[in-house]
């Protein structure tokens, strides 16, 4: 198998030396079946051991190798070099502070994921030991797609709303909240309502749809957010008309 040389322009930032990020170019002999992560690993192993970046599984499961490749937020383990031109620009995920080189600070979204209470909340007593919360295939189908998120944060890097307003809860966290709201075993919808219906919740989304376009796992957070808007509006009118709300 032959190799093709590509120019990898990598954003570098050393918090102890640099005032701002800069680009360093590496020439990498890539094999036909390489993904961008292979090329970055080649740099680390053979050309420059100081390069900092995150990765783990190399198979679209761990969600840690998200980066900007030619301006597009992608999983670098899923992005083939053969589909790219001879010059490839690698930057850390947009909209996040740069910790060092290609490593970003994710504290903000971690806190937001926690904020939406992404777990099953029950208001009644737990079932007896020999019983369980029943879930049909039909009720699972309502949210299964949303469980595919691997927290790679490509959606936050693509979201212009999050770029402008860091208080916006954002695509992945909202999609996760919707996943639990749609779960028939959950009774915590009203607990999540204050956060989701707030200005920085679903209503801050103007439906650019970029999050869903870049999502490597086809979670479609934009759809989840629009559905939450519809749910929120229905709840609002139910309350106005004195109709009892959701079970929770």
């Amino acid at each position: 198998m032959g190799t093709r040389n590509i120019e990898l322009e990598v954003m570098r930032y050393d918090p102890e030396k640099d005032k701002e990020p800069w680009f360093q170019t590496y020439t990498v002999p890539c094999l036909e079946d390489w993904v961008i992560l292979d090329a970055i690993n080649y740099v680390k192993d053979n050309l420059d051991t100081t390069l900092a970046y995150r990765w783990s599984c190399h198979m679209m499961v761990c969600g840690s190798c998200g980066m900007m490749v030619n301006g597009e937020p992608v999983l670098t383990c899923k992005t083939f070099v053969r589909e790219l031109p001879d010059k490839v620009r690698i930057e850390p995920l947009e909209n996040f502070p740069i910790e060092r080189d290609l490593v970003v600070v994710l504290d903000d979204v971690m806190q937001k994921l926690h904020q939406v209470q992404p777990y099953i909340i029950r208001k009644d007593d737990p079932p007896a030991e020999d019983q369980e919360y029943i879930q049909t295939r039909g009720s699972l189908a309502k949210f299964k797609q949303l469980t595919m998120c691997i927290n790679c944060m490509c959606c936050y890097a693509a979201c212009p709303q999050y770029a402008l307003n860091k208080d916006f809860i954002g695509p992945a966290a909202l999609a996760l909240a919707h996943r639990y709201n749609r779960d028939n075993r959950d009774q915590g919808k009203s607990d999540r309502l204050d956060i989701l219906a707030d200005h920085d919740g679903v209503w801050d989304c103007s439906f650019v749809g970029a999050c869903s376009e870049v999502c490597p796992k086809h979670v479609d957070p934009a759809a989840a957010i629009q559905q939450m808007k519809v749910d929120g509006a229905v709840e609002f009118w139910k309350q106005k008309m004195g109709i009892p709300g959701d079970k929770s």
């Binding site: 102890e16 990020p21 301006g71 189908a141 770029a163 970029a210 869903s212 559905q227």
Partner: protein, 131 residues
């Protein structure tokens, strides 16, 4: 080693120039001005109709100059469709329908919107005496 995270600046006025999909979004949002214009035009037309036959004829005549016709053609067939087509396409995202265990295919919902649009349009044409 000390932490000193670097925050990349984002322009609040030119952010949409960063990517093609943002430009498409801004164009779509700008078409809302045309929606506003047509709402206003409808009010003007209705008030002319309510006022007198002369005012109504004058209103109709004012819309039939070459410049206005070109404007209507561009506005309706490009900008408003630029708004309508994407929204129909996005409808199954905002309003997914599930029957039993199966999700109704997106295309069924999208085609449903076009059919409803055509039926309503025909009804309005019939009301207006065009058909």
């Amino acid at each position: 080693m000390s932490r000193n995270p670097y925050v990349r600046p984002v322009s609040t006025t030119t952010w949409y120039m960063r990517h093609g999909r943002y430009k498409v979004y801004v164009l779509r949002e700008l078409t809302s001005f045309l929606v506003m214009f047509y709402s206003f035009l409808t009010l003007v037309g209705l008030s002319a109709l309510a006022a007198s036959a002369e005012r109504w004829d004058a209103f109709l005549a004012s819309q039939q100059g070459t410049g206005m016709m070109v404007f209507h053609a561009v506005a309706l067939f490009y900008f408003l469709f630029f708004q309508t087509f994407p929204w129909f396409k996005l409808a199954p995202k905002a309003m997914p329908v599930q029957v039993g265990e199966k999700k109704v295919p997106d295309n069924t919902i999208i085609i449903g919107h076009y059919v409803a649009w055509a039926v309503l349009s025909l009804f309005i044409f019939w009301l207006a005496g065009v058909l």
